[in-house]
């Protein structure tokens, strides 16, 4: 599985407008939802569940990245996108540090193994200092798309 198999580059947001966690989640769900043809109602419902999920426990695992996610019946195939904030966001991260890179992941409810595989893939790349650093410095959608492409070309493991 490659990042480009499930990251929708059309929905990438190189500079998030929102400056608070919930606003960022809504902005990203709206971008991702629109690009897969969801209606306003589903987008609102998904935003709400991502926020509810985040309230149960932060997905800010540290190192400036957060991976908010949810499983939702309106999602037929795993999709994700990336948002970048140069100012940094308060995601109540584990290490209390601001979050600069947000990866939003939406999964269908009935495919837990594929959800785990996508998470593994995302974190395998986010573990790499260079990937995080370059993402954080990327100032355009094209640069982010290029980074995803390069990451996919790295040998696994």
């Amino acid at each position: 599985m490659k990042l480009s198999d499930f990251i929708l580059t059309d929905a990438v947001i190189p500079e998030l407008k929102a400056t608070d966690r919930n606003g960022v989640i809504r902005e990203m769900v709206s971008s991702l939802g629109t690009s897969i043809g969801l209606d306003e109602k589903d987008i609102a419902a998904i935003s709400k569940s991502v926020i509810a999920r985040e309230n149960q426990g932060s997905t800010g695992f540290g190192k400036g990245v957060s991976v908010p996610h949810v499983k939702h019946p309106s999602i037929k195939k795993i999709v994700a996108t990336i948002g970048r904030s140069s100012a940094g966001l308060d995601f109540a991260a584990l290490d209390r540090a601001p979050v600069y890179i947000v990866v939003l992941l939406l999964s269908p409810p009935d495919n837990p193994d594929q959800h785990l595989a996508s998470m593994e893939n995302i974190f395998r790349h986010l573990q790499r200092d260079n990937f995080r650093r370059f993402l954080r410095q990327a100032s355009s959608k094209d640069e982010i798309i290029e980074l995803i492409k390069e990451a996919d070309e790295l040998p696994e493991g």
Binding site: Q56, G57, T59, F61, G62, K63, V67, H69, L94, P112, D113, H115, L116, A117, M119, E120, F123, R124, L126, Q127, R128, D129, N130, F131, R133, F134, R136, Q137, A138, E143, E146, L147, E150, A151, L154, P155, G157
Partner: protein, 115 residues
């Protein structure tokens, strides 16, 4: 971090790995457990595990096959990609290793309170 040189993305270095930095054994107590909950070791269970592991002084290692990660590091734990039925070996080394293994094994075997 991030304020130093800014090499262009094309300078991306492959294989700046994390796995080779992790020992594959701690020579401590160990126990093999099976992931019980249908959703597997997803983010919330990982946080539960890491929270609990953090309450012990012992170093904790979690192994799947020949791949091992630090049981106190949530990002590494996500790399286990442990679905329902996956066998994981927990290993602990330190003054409270026995209690740590017992508590962590129970958490997994109880399916993290999920069904």
């Amino acid at each position: 971090m991030g304020q130093t040189e800014d090499p262009p993305p094309s300078a991306l270095v492959p294989c700046e790995g994390f796995a080779e930095q992790i020992e594959t054994t701690l020579n401590g107590e160990s126990r093999t457990v099976t992931i019980a909950n249908p959703q597997g070791l997803h983010a919330r269970p990982v946080m539960q595990f890491v929270d609990l592991a953090g309450q012990f002084q012992s170093r904790i290692l979690v192994r799947k096959g020949n791949f091992a990660v630090d049981g106190k590091n949530p990002m590494e734990m996500m790399l286990l990609e442990a679905s329902q039925g996956t066998e994981l070996t927990l290993e602990a080394n330190g003054p409270d290793a026995t209690q740590a293994i017992e508590a962590l094994a129970q958490l997994i075997e109880n399916g993290f309170g999920e069904r």
